[in-house]
Each structure stands twice: as structure tokens, then as C-alpha cells.
């Protein structure tokens, strides 16, 4: 083993943490932008009692689906910020040129994005669940499905964001592209919560979500990296 | 033959609106799928033929600028 090998191995990890730190610092600079997706989540959830009626039974019945769909939509809305700011100021090109396995840089950006959007969403979900009268026994499962699911949403979303990064009105196209891909996660996530309410063990759904997460963790960074290169051509 | 008369065939045991509208859609789909590329190719040759004719006519007068004559669009 040469010195070069030793010099290379730790620098990937260092590149990862450096990228995460940078993205987090930038994200925390504009506090209002951080809150927006979370506010959207809460506001969107509140629309349902207003639209459907405040009766606890009806709301509790649709709660798993609504909580999941809104988490999905909130993530979708926030995806634009994943690459666009860096694209606009030229930093994205630097990332593509400098970070040697690009998928590491991409993974770092997605991780930072999840820390700032997906994780707070997951932590906020018990409050949202309260607004829709989700039975208390189902709340831990809800949080667990979101904990497994929001990273999948961020990872898949990253591919879509990378594909649409330079395009005008890319936001709407992004949603069109990503929504079909989100269908399995939605079905499994909401299904797990419904299962708990029905008294059924959600182990199958959770296992599937974990498997999908593992699959997406390995595949999507490459797809997103390739898409970024294509987008910056 | 599953039907004993034309009338019976068209009537489809009462299901005629469903069967015939579905078949209309299906046949329409096949026809559209068939005609799109055929028409596109015909259009291609027509347009390219026009373009080449225009090019050769522009070249044949030695490339001289014709300010007075209307430009072909």
C-alpha cells in the first residue's frame, strides 16, 4: 500500500462531511426557507378538517394517507432547492468537476437536505397526527415509516432534481417525473400505519421499506450524478 | 360462428355500446399508431425536397444577392 492509497481513502469521508457541513451552513443562513416546507406540511394537513369536516372518525380514517401524502408533497416542493441554488451560482459545476466519485458529493447533498427537510418533517408528524385524530397507538409506526420513507423520497427526488436542474419551469416537470416513482413508498408507508390501526403487524411493510431504502441508497446517487453531468453539458 | 345473424352480432347480447365503443377506440389507436410515422416520413421527404430545391435555386444564380425579388419563405 502506497502513501497515495492512504491519502485517498480518508479524503472521501472528509469530502462527504465537508459537503454536508457546507450545505447545512448555507441552509441555516436563511431560516425562513427552512421553515417553509414544515409550514406547508402543517397548513396542508389543516386543510383537511376544513375541507372534509371536523368529525374525528372521518379524519382518523383518512389520517394515515393524508399524513403521508402531505409529507410527499412537502418533500417534492423542497426538492427544487437541492441543486438549484448551487446551479445558479456555479458551485454545482465545481462539485461535478472536483469531487472525485461524484456520487459521494451527491449523497452528501441529499443527506444534508434530508437533515433539514425530511427529519424535521418526521419529528413534526406526531403533531400533525394529533390534528387528524390518528389513534395514539399508530403514531410510533407513523414516525418510523417517515423515518424510513423520507430518505427514500429525498433520494429519488434527487434524481428528478438532477434531471431538471437547468430547465425553465423545472419545478413542475420535476413533480411529474417523480410522483409515479413515489407510489410504492406511499402505499407501503400509509399501509403500515393503517395496518397498526387495524391491529395487524406492519412488519412486512416496514421490511419492504427498509429494503427499498437500501436499494435506493446504492443506486440513486449514481443516477443523480450521471443526470447532473448530463444537465451541465 | 357464435352469432346466428348480423343483427345478433351487432347487438352483442345487449352489451353493444361497450363492445363497439371499446373496439372503436382500439382500432382508432391502431390506425393512429400506424399513420403517425407514415405521415411523418412523407412530410420529411416533402420538406427536405423543398429545402434542397431552394438551396439549388439560390446557388444557381451564382449566389448573387437579389434585393428586389421576394425571398422564398
Amino acid at each position: 500500500m502506497t502513501a497515495a492509497t492512504f491519502a485517498r481513502a480518508p479524503s472521501i469521508g472528509r469530502a462527504f462531511t465537508a459537503q454536508v457541513q457546507r450545505d447545512l451552513t448555507i441552509a441555516f443562513r436563511s431560516r425562513s426557507e427552512l421553515i417553509n416546507p414544515l409550514m406547508f406540511y402543517v397548513m396542508g394537513i389543516s386543510m383537511f378538517p376544513l375541507g372534509v369536516g371536523p368529525t374525528a372518525e372521518r379524519l382518523a380514517e383518512i389520517a394515515p394517507g393524508v399524513l403521508w401524502v402531505l409529507a410527499l408533497l412537502s418533500t417534492l416542493l423542497s426538492l427544487d432547492s437541492l441543486f438549484r441554488r448551487d446551479f445558479d451560482d456555479g458551485t454545482l459545476e465545481q462539485l461535478v468537476l472536483n469531487v472525485d466519485p461524484l456520487f459521494v458529493g451527491v449523497l452528501a447533498k441529499v443527506f444534508a437536505h434530508w437533515l433539514v427537510i425530511g427529519l424535521p418533517l418526521t419529528l413534526l408528524s406526531p403533531l400533525a397526527a394529533l390534528m387528524l385524530f390518528l389513534p395514539g397507538a399508530a403514531v410510533p409506526t407513523l414516525v418510523l415509516t417517515l423515518l424510513l420513507g423520507t430518505p427514500i423520497l429525498s433520494l429519488l427526488g434527487a434524481v428528478g432534481a438532477a434531471l431538471t436542474v437547468g430547465l425553465k419551469r423545472g419545478g413542475l416537470l420535476l413533480t411529474l417525473i417523480i410522483l409515479p416513482l413515489y407510489v410504492p413508498v406511499l402505499i407501503l408507508g400509509a399501509g403500515a400505519v393503517t395496518a397498526v390501526i387495524d391491529g395487524v403487524d406492519p412488519a412486512a411493510q416496514l421490511a419492504w421499506m427498509a429494503a427499498i431504502l437500501a436499494l435506493m441508497l446504492t443506486l440513486t446517487p449514481f443516477a443523480a450524478a450521471l443526470a447532473l453531468r448530463v444537465g451541465l453539458e | 360462428m357464435s352469432f346466428t345473424s348480423w343483427h345478433e352480432f351487432l347487438y352483442m347480447g345487449g352489451h353493444y355500446p361497450f363492445v363497439w365503443s371499446a373496439y372503436a377506440i382500439g382500432v382508432f389507436g391502431v390506425v393512429v399508431t400506424l399513420l403517425r410515422p407514415l405521415r411523418a416520413r412523407r412530410r420529411f421527404f416533402a420538406e427536405q425536397g423543398q429545402r434542397l430545391r431552394r438551396q439549388s435555386s439560390l446557388e444557381s444564380d451564382g449566389g448573387a444577392e437579389r434585393i428586389d425579388a421576394p425571398r422564398p419563405s
Binding site: L163, V183, E233 | S2, I25, R41, F45
Partner: protein, 250 residues
């Protein structure tokens, strides 16, 4: 093996493909259309009516081929996309471009005929069963690929972006189908099997087979023709195409 490799290398030349594919396209189109006509007439007029569904089951001879083809077409797009990304074969991009509109039409036909079939069978125009739901998601996937292709300004980048999306979609399709299937057993709606293939008597099954084969052949022919169009379009400034155009005039 050597012949396969030669074929593979030849596919790198769009011009070679154009010159070879002509007769194959024409032949497949004719054979396919005959197959479709035979299958449909057989299914409409000769096959016996179904014990439960009466005559409306005859829609199956359209619905099933359309559904099968729209799925196969997407997988073909995904494979072609992968070929484009890995080997940068220009022809693969043209296959993606030519296949997408065909697949969309079949997908829409499948959805509409499925809905029309559902009305007399289940009493509703739409039902969220495993097949209709995954077919609807497939339609969304198609739109995504086509929309992305149109939105990217540079032609080569558009092809590669669409290819990435097609591959991701293709990988996701089994996951989608599984989760939708599972979602329905959870909700325990009665899933009527529209095609209970093993228990179908031969008089019903054979015209379906003919119809499906006819549609596949037809699809192959239309695809070859469409790819030929793409070749012409992209190589319109080359000598061989201009010669071809000139020879077609007058």
C-alpha cells in the same frame, strides 16, 4: 457469437439500420395487421360468449394486447436507455424516441378499454384494482419521459436525460407492481381476474394468442419505421440522405 458482435457493431451506424430495416418494417406491419385483424374478428364473431360476462368479455381481445404491449414497450425503452448510457449508441436514443409515443397510445387504449369493460362487468367505470392502478402509474411514467425529453433543449442531453429516467422507471416498475398488488390484498377488494388464462377454454384463448402476437408484430414494424424516421431526421444534412431525397423527387 461473432455474428452477434458484427450485428452489434453495425448497429452503431444509423445509416446501415435505415437501409436494412425497410423491408423488415413493411413485412412486420403487414403481418402484424393481418394478425390483429384475424385475432379481433375471431374474438368478436367466432369465440363463444363467456358464461359470466356475456359478450362484453370480447373487449379482452383488445385490452390484453394493449396492456401487455404498453408494458413491454416501456421495458424496451428502459433497455434502450441503458444501452444509450453505457455504450453511447445513437440508435438506442432513436429507439427511445420512437417507442415512447407508441407505448403511450397503447397505454391509453388499455386504460380506456379496461374502463369500458369494467362498466358491464363490475358496474363502475373505474376501479382501483392492481392492473388498472399500475397501468395508470405506467401512463404517468411515460408522460414523464416524454415531457423531460421535450424540455431539455440540447438534443443529445435530452436523449440521455430521458434515458436515465426510463431506466429508473424500469427498475421501479416491479416495485410499483408489487406494492400495488399488495395494497389491494390489504384492502381486500375482490380482484376479478380479467384474464383467467389457465381456465379459459381453447376457443377463447386462441384468438387472444393470435391477437397478442399480431399486436407484437405490428408494434415491431411501427417501431422499425419510427426509428427509420428518426435516422432520417437526424442525418438530414448528410450526403446519403440528401441523395435519397433527391432520388424521391419527381
Amino acid at each position: 457469437m461473432g455474428r452477434l458482435k458484427t450485428l452489434w457493431h453495425r448497429l452503431g451506424s444509423p445509416r446501415w439500420f435505415y437501409e436494412i430495416s425497410g423491408p423488415w418494417a413493411a413485412g412486420s406491419l403487414i403481418v402484424g395487421l393481418i394478425g390483429i385483424a384475424v385475432g379481433l374478428v375471431w374474438g368478436l364473431a367466432i369465440a363463444p360468449p363467456d358464461y359470466l360476462q356475456g359478450n362484453s368479455f370480447r373487449i379482452m381481445y383488445l385490452h390484453v394486447p394493449a396492456a401487455i404491449l404498453s408494458e413491454s414497450c416501456y421495458i424496451l425503452m428502459g433497455v434502450a436507455g441503458a444501452v444509450l448510457l453505457i455504450w453511447r449508441m445513437k440508435l438506442a436514443d432513436m429507439v427511445v424516441a420512437a417507442a415512447a409515443p407508441i407505448g403511450v397510445v397503447f397505454c391509453i387504449v388499455a386504460l380506456l378499454t379496461g374502463a369500458i369493460w369494467g362498466r358491464p362487468t363490475w358496474g363502475t367505470w373505474w376501479v382501483w384494482d392492481a392492473r388498472t392502478t399500475s397501468m395508470l402509474v405506467l401512463l404517468f411514467l411515460y408522460f414523464g419521459v416524454m415531457a423531460l425529453r421535450q424540455a431539455v433543449p440540447r438534443e443529445e442531453s435530452a436523449g440521455r436525460a430521458a434515458a436515465i429516467l426510463a431506466v429508473v422507471g424500469m427498475v421501479d416498475i416491479p416495485i410499483i407492481k408489487y406494492s400495488v398488488d399488495w395494497w389491494l390484498t390489504l384492502h381486500q377488494t375482490s380482484t376479478f381476474k380479467l384474464t383467467s388464462a389457465p381456465s379459459m377454454p381453447a376457443e377463447m384463448y386462441l384468438p387472444l394468442l393470435v391477437s397478442v402476437l399480431g399486436f407484437y408484430t405490428f408494434f415491431f414494424g411501427v417501431l422499425l419505421f419510427g426509428v427509420g424516421n428518426e435516422v432520417l431526421m437526424r442525418e438530414r444534412r448528410t450526403q446519403w440522405v440528401t441523395d435519397l431525397v433527391r432520388s424521391r423527387q419527381s
